[in-house]
Structures are given as structure tokens and as C-alpha cells.
Subunit: 582 residues, 2 copies
């Protein structure tokens, strides 16, 4: 048995401090330590020990609904009792009103300890945000306190068999019934759509009304609770899980086929405007996309912990004196571990940076509207990047973790083999990584003519220039990064200019563009880390490993930028590709 | 249910023809078609339909030994009856004496249809080769005909709990007993170490004799049959499977813990010289490493088939007229499919090229000794490259295959999710991919002062120059490829020169060096393919897709070379990395 997950407190503190230093709004970081330590303890003592067991004996569907793996209901109860369900929510709802930045670190911790479990409370975080922004006073008063406390859980019901990435063909129907609606239809791939952790599950469901226009503009968002709050208790609503998927990973999390309206119609309430479902949904979706990035970062961190610990214990090969050496001393194991570590740290800092911009976008006194708008723009730009880049990194890092373990990593009993399977969902759900890339390039870069991107590139260049002027300089990182930033700026300008004349061009290059920007943004964060640790004090305890990490990122990760860049510059090969020749 | 595996006959014929065209020895390709078609039929009708079932209900250990999944014994019987167990073996042993090149294509087919099954006969291919080269006449006469017919199967027993990549610490003991030996010890990770497909299993076991020097020079190779051929039938030997691993993938293949000598000692016979076990083993090992490359190529091909077929059927998004489009028309799905296809084709051609060199090394009349030596050198150089590069490709291609499927690729019932798990063993077993990289750079490049590499680079440059002079030129591929070949040559020269002064340097860069050479070798094969198809005739049916593939490889794969190159040029960051800071 491997040791349980341990929250990487030192690296998390560093990430938080560096984000705070470079943020344009004041960031309170002094309350971070006790929170992170407590979350780390809970993850280590409660969630991490359940991770393998939940994979080996997944959630199952019984005649009384979904039964989660042994230990999960008790863990959830403790999770809520300790106040973790509500750290981000406002105090007046019973939350702790922590900053998004600090909540991001905590979210990473849950994903690192037990991704399948972590997905459940994360859905409620998104639902609270959507209801706060869009629901009526009556709905908010009734539902928010119960969601914030975790007594009730939440789920987001989008996908139907014919409608995955393309929601325009959704068919689930909502018929008006007085002030309420009656819903019928079938939803698939509903994460935590049913379970026994909470006494009720609040579904946020995208559906079509009878008079609705076709396509995306005819979708409305409805709240459909599993159990209806009635006088005297809860009464069953007409929504239930009728099947569970058998998945390659995140097996403890029940992925449900939900049937609505098999009897009288599921009772539901409209959230936000009629036919305005998509924009309400995106409030929740953006939060959950950031959550995927954070959970993926946690998973990558956990893969690194397992691989490093294995590499310290496993002995193969001999040194000059004939003594067997731990494999961490072998050059290629070092290469793999440093790849895992530098990618994970870059992912973490970038995800935290996105979360901090959410704080900036909401900052109250002392911040000016244009600063809040700028922060919102930046959060919008970073969210798809974080979702896609961090989840791709988790897949790569988990795979390297298996490789460090050798044959021992290929057996089911090893947690690293579970992480390899768990990680693979990240690039798929909450919008595939191509959907993220399209969002990034199409909506966040091209639509505003590159303005938000230019702000980001300027910040990145500032940071690199500061590094160049620091006594430690790190030219190996600074010089190529600065050059790449200039190249990406030019490429983005061409993409913006081309878009009107060649509408298909952006789709051909969106994914490599996202990867290119991701690699450079990771370099930016490493530049900030190196400068921060070295500027703070020559004797900063992390200084040697941060300098090593920054150098390794420069020589072993940053050069990937070239490959993404060439693909971005070569859309013709794809626009010309006919399906028959693929 | 997806359609079963189909052997990609057109692309295989192209690969064989292009290898034959560029080989320095005569290659008979006229017998290829009926063989490939028959193998394709067997794969499609018998092996592929068992693939999912074998994963869902893996081999299990009973008190009578290992019982394989339903259908496997019958499939193996038909496999042998149809003569597939022996295509490569000499006619005098009952084989069909096919060329290694043609056998390579057939091996790819088995890996594509059912990797777990394919591993079993592949072990016998390696054992036949080892026994032919190293066993006594008596052993050869007794064992070879039975192994060639497939009536008896084979297994290779190397790993022990304390000895994985480092075989120097093997402890299994062989004590002399007249003309025989008695073995005792425990071996782990023994693929197909026990099963019910064949009536006997011939184990080739690496063990240490009492008088042996320590380390690798004290290892000898022994033949230990599961059942001893006695007068009147077979008697049980003292070797048995005592446990099976529960693996992430290739679950139908039993991975055994083998106990030897729990009673009287397992009776065994020395193969080759005393204390010369390692070199005997490498005869088998090299064959099996080529096998991993071929099986991985087949798996990648299968992943591509599943993804392409899903992309043709699944409809999401609409065209300008409002009709739903198959996702293969979406730019990013095309990008993923072309990445899968161009990597798979490069892997195939490179693996076939290595197999053809084995034919060249053995060519009889008409070939001169220095040509045979040159071919053997080339096979030695390409074997670790093929094993590592093709298996890494299979992991990447299977992962992309999951991504093309979206959520449907994440459920257990989908074959693509199995392939993602199956593929992950390739970079681990038969020597990890870092072991391959060390073999390539240390033994095949540095030890001969770059001579074999220079021969390869010269051939690659010749091919690219021919392409440049052809009417189709393909400058997008030819120019950067030629430039990269020059850079790799210079880097290799520096590595050769540095090696004596900095022994640790090569280990730091071996893996990126292998990746760099792999990407360029893939480009070389794409250059040959494009030139071959276009030179043959303007109306070659594959011409449009080969030109598209070559262009895509040039813009989307070849630029990866830069990242590997920078890592090769930056060993300092790893030599300086102290474990405490990783």
C-alpha cells in the first residue's frame, strides 16, 4: 500500500503568494495556512484512503437508487460537517466566503485525494453560483442554504444520446403547468445524477419548451429536485436513474442515465429567462471547467507523489561501489519525475491565476469597474485554457507515473494505474478540450480582436522582463519565452485578420493554438515562481528546486511550443483534407 | 458493437513494396497478398471478436492451472491448424519459411485484432529462434517441431521481485544434476506463463548456477518444460503458476507468478554456454522487441479504425444548410484522425524496415558478407527504436481514439477504452522504453562511434533528396527533414565524442535522442511512401491520401523534433539535478 495523498502545502503556498504578488487587486493570503492544512488533513485521513476502494467496488444501481461505495456516505457527512461544502459561498447563506483563489487550492486537494468523490461537491459549487445569479428569490431562499451546507447535492443534466458536444439538438421537453413546469425526456452521462450521500439532489436541467425556437436559442434551464419539499417531508419527483455507465475510471462516481417524466412529468422550476438557458448554464459550466482544471492538477500532483515515492524506494542498478541505487538516481527517472513536476506546478499556478481573476472580477470597495471588467475578461480567457491544458497534462503526467512504476504500475492494485484511467475523463467532460480550444480562440481571442489576449501577453512579457533584470536572470527560460510570446502575438493577429475571410481556418488551428498558449503560460508561471522564490530571499527553502524546475521547463517543456506553432501556421493541410482521404 | 478489426491491406502492401524497393537485398513480395488476406480473415473472423470478451472475463487461476477466456483455446487450435504458428520457421521444422518482412505484417495483424492473444504465439517465435541458435541437437530435435507447430507453447522467465530492469540481481538457482539441472526460485510478470491453449509450455529461464560469478556474467539460460516428455506421455515438472496479476489491460493474457522447485527442483536443460545466458536470451528478446513494435502498430491501427468509423457515424453540429454533419467533417476530428493515421503508418513502415533487415542479415546466395553484416547492424540499430517509438505511438494513438469517441470512449463496453489500457503495457515490458533508448544510444550508436547511425542517416538523406528531385517534391516535408537530419548527425557526433569524458551524459539524453530519431525516421518513411505512390503512377489509388498524410506529418508531427533536440542538447539540467530537489 502506498502512503495516502498529502497536500503539497509548500508549493501551494508558493503558488498563492506568486498569484497574489502579480494580481491587480488586493489578495488576502494570511488565512490560507490553517485552511490548507485542515483540507490536507481531511484529504489524507478521509478521502485518499477511500480512493482505491471506490475504484474496486464502484457505485451501483439498486431498486432504492444508487448506492455509493462503502465509506463514501460517512466521508461526505464529515465533509459537510467540517464546512467544506460551503467555503466559497457567502456568509449569509451559511458559507465561509473564502476567496476563489483559496478555494481553488482546496478544490485541487479534493481532486488529488479522490477525484470521483470530489466531483460531487464540485457540482453543488457550480449550482449555487448559477442559482445565486439567475434564480428567483423564492428558489434561492428555499434551495441555496441546503446546497451550501451540503445537505442537498446538485447535478447538471445536459447530454442526451443525440446531443453531446452539440446541445442544439436537445429534446427533453418542459411543458408549463401553472407556475411550474413538467419535464420529460432522457439524459445521459449525468455525473452523480443519483446517490445516497445527500438527502436530496437538485438537478439543473437544460430542456426545450413547446414554443421554443429550434437550436441553442430555444433552450431553457430548469431546476428539478429529486425529492420535492412538501409539507411534512420530501416526496419523490418523477426523475430517476435508470442505468449506470461502466466506466474506465472515476468508477466510484455514478454516471447515470436519468429518466424524467415516466409517470406524470418531473416537476421543475424555470431558472433565469425563458430560452435563456444557455447563458444561465454557462455560469455553472465555467465554474465546473475551472474545477476540472483544478481536479486534474490535483490528480497530476498525486501521480507525481506516487511515482516519486516509488522511485525513492525501488532499487535497480548499482553505483560505482556496487551498492543498489534507488531508481530516482537514474537519469531518465529524474527526467520523467521533473516532467511530471514542472507540468503540474505550471498547471497549478495557471489554474490558481484564473481563480484569482474571478476574485478580481467581484472585488468590492477599492476596485474600479474597468479593473473588474479586465479581471472578468482574463478569467474568461483563462478558463478554457485551464480546463483543457491542465486536463491534458494530467493524462500525460499519469502516464509517466505508470512508466516510472514499470510493471508494478500496470497492475490494478496500484493507485497509479487507477489515476491513468481516472485522468482520461478530464479532456472529455464539461466540454471536450476541442470545445475549450474553440471557445478560447473563437470567443475569447478572435471575437474581441485579440484585446484580452494582448493584455495577457503584455503581462507575460512584463514578468519575463522582470526575470531578465533580476540577479538570477535565467536566460535559458527568459529568452526563448520572450521570443515565443512575440511569435504567438503575430500568429494571433493573423488569425484575427483571417477569420472573416476564412471561417473554417480557426477551427483547424484552435487546438494547437491552445496548446501553444498553454506551454507559454506555463513558462510564464515558472518565471514568476523562480523570480518570486529568489527575490524573497537567497535562502528561500524552495529556491534550489524552483531554479531546477524553471531550467527543466525551459529545456524540456517550452520547446514543445515550436511544434504547436507550426501546426497553427499550417491550417491548409486540414482545410484541404477530404474525409475520404483521412 | 463496432465492426471487427480489418487488416489494412492496401497500406500494408504499400509498406511492403516501399521497403522492398529501398532494400539492399532482393525481397520476394509476390507471395504477400494471399497470406495477408488469409491472416486478415482469421483476425477478423476469429481473433477480433474475442477481444472484448477476453478483457471482460480474463484468464483465471484454478487448481488445475490457468483457464483462459472462453473461445481462446478453440481460436488457438485453429490458429495452429491453419499454420499461423510457424510462418517464419524453416520448412525442415514444419514451418513455412516466410520472410521476416511478410511475417512482420502478419504479426501486426494479430496485435491489431487481439493483443492479449497475440502475445502467446509471439513468445514461441522468439523461443524457436533462441533454440535454433543456441540449443544442442538433442534439444532442438525434441522441442523445435512441437514449438513450430504450436502444439507446445513457450514463455520467457526473466523478472524476479528484486530484479526487473536490472537482471544482475537474479537469484533463481540452477544446480547441476547429471546432464540436467534442478531449478528453484520465483519468477514474476511471466506473460502466458501458464494456460490451457497448448498441451505443454516450454519456459526459457534465466538463472544462476552455484559457481557463477555475481552480476550479469553469472547468468545462464535453461529450458524448463511445464510437462516432461516421458515414456508414455507427459509428466508434471516442478514449475507452476501460483498467482496471476490483475492488470489494467491485456487482461486475457495470464501474467503469472511462477514457482520453481517447490518440491524436488524443476528439471531443466542448459541452453548455450554456461554463464552465457544473457546473449542467448537476447536472441529471443530482440525478436520479442520487434514483436512489441509490430503489435503496438496493429493496436494503433485498430484504434484508428474504431475512431474513424465512429467519426463517420456520429453526427454533431450542422452544416450551412442545417443538416447534421458526421464529426469526421469537423476540423479537429480530422486533425486527431490524421495524427493517428500518420503516426501509425510511420510506425508500420519503420517496423517492417527493421524486419526486412533481419532477412538481409540472413540472405543466402547472391549476398555478400559485408552486406549481411550491414543489414544485421541496421536491424540492431532499428530494433530498440521500433520497440520504443511504436509502443509510445500506440499509447498516444489509443488516447486520441478515446478523445474522438468523447464520452462513449470512456465506457468499458467500448473497445477503444480497452485499447487505451492495453496499449500502456507496450512502453513497459520486454525492456522499458528507456532501456531501449539506452541500448540505441549506448550500444548501437556510441559503441561503434556512430557508424551504423551514419549509414542510416545517409540512406534517409538519399531518400529525401530523391523526393526533392521527383516532380512532386513535397518541400514542406523534404526541407525541414533534411535540416533536422543534419542537426541530429551533429548532435550524435558530440554525444560520441563526449561519452568517454562524461559517462552519465548519454543516459540523460538517451530517451529524447530516441524520440528525435523516431520522428525523423517516420518522416523518412513518409517521404518514401509519397515518392513510391506518386512514382508508381499518377493514378495510384492511394496517391491523394499519401500526399495528404505526408503533408500532415510534415506540419503536425515532424516539428516535434525540435523539442526532442533541445532536450538532447540540454543534459546539464539532469546531470545537475539532485534527488532532493526533484
Amino acid at each position: 500500500m502506498s502512503a495516502p495523498y498529502q497536500a503539497p502545502l509548500a508549493m501551494m503556498r508558493l503558488a498563492i503568494a506568486q498569484i497574489a504578488r502579480s494580481a491587480r487587486h488586493p489578495v488576502a493570503v494570511e488565512d490560507a495556512d490553517p485552511i490548507l492544512e485542515a483540507a490536507g488533513r481531511f484529504a489524507q485521513e478521509v478521502l485518499s484512503p477511500l480512493n482505491r476502494a471506490g475504484d474496486a467496488a464502484p457505485s451501483r444501481l439498486t431498486e432504492h437508487g444508487v448506492v455509493t461505495p462503502q465509506g463514501f456516505p460517512e466521508a461526505y457527512r464529515r465533509f459537510c460537517n467540517d464546512g467544506w461544502a460551503s467555503i466559497c459561498a457567502p456568509r449569509e447563506l451559511g458559507g465561509q466566503a473564502l476567496s476563489n483563489l483559496l478555494a481553488a487550492a482546496v478544490t485541487e486537494i479534493w481532486g488529488g485525494a479522490n477525484l470521483a468523490f470530489a466531483m460531487c461537491p464540485e457540482a453543488a459549487v457550480g449550482a449555487v453560483e448559477a442559482l445565486e445569479a439567475h434564480a428567483s428569490t423564492a428558489i434561492r431562499e428555499r434551495y441555496l442554504p441546503l446546497l451550501v451546507s451540503g445537505r442537498w447535492a446538485a447535478a447538471m443534466d445536459l447530454t442526451e444520446p443525440q446531443a453531446g458536444s452539440d446541445l442544439s439538438t436537445l429534446r427533453t421537453l418542459a411543458i408549463p403547468d401553472g407556475d411550474e413546469w413538467r419535464l420529460s425526456g432522457r439524459k445521459i452521462f449525468i455525473s452523480w445524477g443519483d446517490h445516497d450521500l445527500a438527502e436530496n439532489i437538485v438537478h439543473l436541467i437544460l430542456a426545450r419548451t413547446p414554443d421554443a425556437p429550434p437550436g441553442l436559442k430555444g433552450l431553457s434551464l430548469f431546476l428539478v429536485p429529486k425529492a420535492l419539499p412538501e409539507a411534512g417531508g420530501l416526496a419523490a419527483n418523477d426523475i430517476q436513474a435508470v442505468a449506470l455507465e461502466h466506466k474506465m475510471g472515476i468508477r466510484a462516481s455514478p454516471t447515470c442515465v436519468m429518466a424524467l417524466g415516466e409517470r406524470t412529468g418531473a416537476r421543475g422550476w424555470l431558472i433565469g429567462d425563458l430560452h435563456g438557458g444557455l447563458s444561465c448554464l454557462f455560469t455553472m459550466m465555467n465554474r465546473m471547467r475551472l474545477g476540472v482544471g483544478l481536479h486534474s492538477t490535483g490528480l497530476a500532483e498525486r501521480a507525481w507523489q506516487l511515482a516519486r515515492s516509488y522511485a525513492q524506494e525501488r532499487r535497480q542498478g548499482r553505483d560505482a561501489a556496487g551498492a543498489q541505487r534507488p531508481i530516482i538516481e537514474h537519469a531518465d527517472v529524474r527526467r520523467m519525475l521533473l516532467t511530471m513536476k514542472t507540468l503540474t506546478h505550471a498547471a497549478r499556478c495557471l489554474a490558481y491565476a484564473a481563480a484569482a481573476e474571478l476574485d478580481g472580477a467581484r472585488a468590492g470597495e477599492g476596485s474600479r469597474p474597468h479593473e473588474r471588467e479586465r479581471a472578468a475578461r482574463r478569467a474568461g480567457l483563462l478558463t478554457p485554457l485551464v480546463k483543457a491544458w491542465c486536463s491534458d497534462i494530467a493524462v500525460e503526467v499519469a502516464s509517466l507515473g505508470v512508466q516510472v512504476h514499470g510493471g508494478a504500475g500496470y497492475i490494478e492494485e496500484s493507485e497509479i494505474s487507477q489515476l491513468y484511467r481516472d485522468a482520461r475523463i478530464g479532456p472529455i467532460f464539461e466540454g471536450t478540450n476541442f470545445i475549450q480550444a474553440q471557445d478560447l480562440l473563437g470567443r475569447k481571442v478572435i471575437r474581441d480582436h485579440g484585446a484580452a489576449l494582448e493584455e495577457l501577453l503584455a503581462d507575460m512579457e512584463d514578468a519575463v522582463r522582470r526575470l531578465r533584470e533580476s540577479p538570477h536572470r535565467l536566460p535559458a527560460l527568459a529568452e526563448p519565452l520572450l521570443a515565443e510570446l512575440g511569435l504567438l502575438r503575430s500568429a494571433a493577429k493573423r488569425l484575427v485578420a483571417f477569420d472573416t475571410s476564412q471561417p473554417g481556418r480557426a477551427a483547424c488551428v484552435a487546438y494547437p493554438f491552445l496548446q501553444w498558449l498553454g506551454v507559454l503560460a506555463g513558462g510564464w508561471q515558472w518565471a514568476l515562481s523562480a523570480e518570486h522564490a529568489l527575490a524573497a530571499s537567497r535562502s528561500h527553502p524552495l529556491a534550489p528546486e524552483l531554479l531546477l524546475g524553471a531550467r527543466f521547463y525551459a529545456t524540456h517543456i517550452l520547446p514543445r511550443a515550436r511544434a504547436h506553432a507550426v501546426a497553427v501556421e499550417s491550417p491548409e493541410v486540414l482545410t484541404a483534407a477530404q474525409p475520404a482521404y483521412i
